[in-house]
Amino acid sequence: MTQDARTVKVSKDLEDLIPTYLANRKKELETLRQALEAADFEQIRQIGHRMRGVGVSYGFDDVTALGKLIEDGANAGDKAALEAHVGAYGQYLSNLRITYE
């Protein structure tokens, strides 16, 4: 995934939902980090699965793409890969820019 600032276009009528949505993603990232440290692959898989659902639905295609990688990594028990994907997720959320249209 890219580590540059990413601009995501979101529908104007979803604007009210976005602050909560992003707050939940940040909590999710924190939970992922803790689960990774504990090697709790089942929890990581569930979070990845949920990311797949809520990413594209809101217009955040990269969240869905990362979610799939995380879910696959958890299924494979590939901790190294998961560390990379969770890291990428953190970068993505840090550099995220949103415009409403």
């Binding site: 529908s11 009528d13 979803l14 009210d16 939902l17 909560t20 949505y21 939940n24 699965h49 949920r50 797949r52 659902g53 809520v54 990413g55 594209v56 639905s57 809101y58 869905t64």
Partner: protein
Amino acid sequence: MSDLAATGLNVAPQTAFRVLVVDDDPDMAALLAAIVEAEGMQAEVMCDGEAAIASVAGAPPDLVLLDVVLPGSSGFEVCRRLKAGPLTALIPVVLVTALEDRESRLQGIEAGADDFLHKPVRREELVARMKMLRRLHETRRELEAQRLAAEVEHKEALHKALSRYVSPRLTDRIIGAAGRAAPFRTEAERADVVVLFADLRGFTRITETIGVHHVVDMLNEYFSVLTEAAYQHEGTIFNMAGDSLLVGFNVPFAQPDAPARAWRTAMDMVSRFAPVSAEWRARFGVATGVGIGLCRGEAIIGNVGSPHFMSYTIIGDTVNTAARLMQMAQADEVLVSATLYESIRPLVPAGRAHAHGAVALRGKSEAVGVYSIKL
């Protein structure tokens, strides 16, 4: 102004299309609800299966968007239960799921889901499906409204047709019992009843002197007057033959005040017929009046006839006695059996009743106490 409004019809306001969103992920639930509301529909959110079922039972929505992976009962289970309920089976359910395998899809079909939507949700796809299901729902609702209107129209026509033959209360009972137990018991029953027999005095003279076409019109006029009086006091007309009318009270419905009803019916019959009789006298030169017999006692009520023609009728000594009293009654006279007279005595105007004493009636071994009331 709309076409409907222009007609002056009272059009019920269109209620909002209600969508129940069931998802344990607050972000997904909020998103679905926002899309629903952006389309002018009303959204309600539930985060688990049991809460969803309780919500549907309390206020059935028009559509359910149902996540599959839920805490407690799964979306499949919730869907299965909704589709098994007679009141909820027709509510469209769309399973919204990230499960892509064939097995999950089959499970959804088996649970009765009407449609599937994959996560991540594509807004255009969700909106298109909701609009399609809304159109279907509205069409179904329109058809149901039309069916109900046709049913009401049919019942009204049936009521109108039946009311020509039986009292309005009996008509209601027959129509109300459609599909349930027959309103008339197959087996006969005994009941304490009050029987009123009325008959037209001077009818023989009418048939001898007046043209047939007039006779039928006159009979119709006479029976209309008597029938209205009987129905006003909720009597049940059992028979109309020649110029006589048989009316029962306290049957088939309990009427604790049956004697009073029968007496008032008799008075009404005489008073309503008086102007008709006066008009006939002026037009045709015939003297007419109503002769009435009233008796109270036990009678047998039941269906008599063949499988092809049934008559709901009333038979027994009480009926025979009322018939005999009617035959003896003069124009505008009511002959009442002594047993019934005791029940209506306070209602009879002072000085109108005269005791005949015990009268031997044809076909009866014992004499019957009779009172004459001239109206």
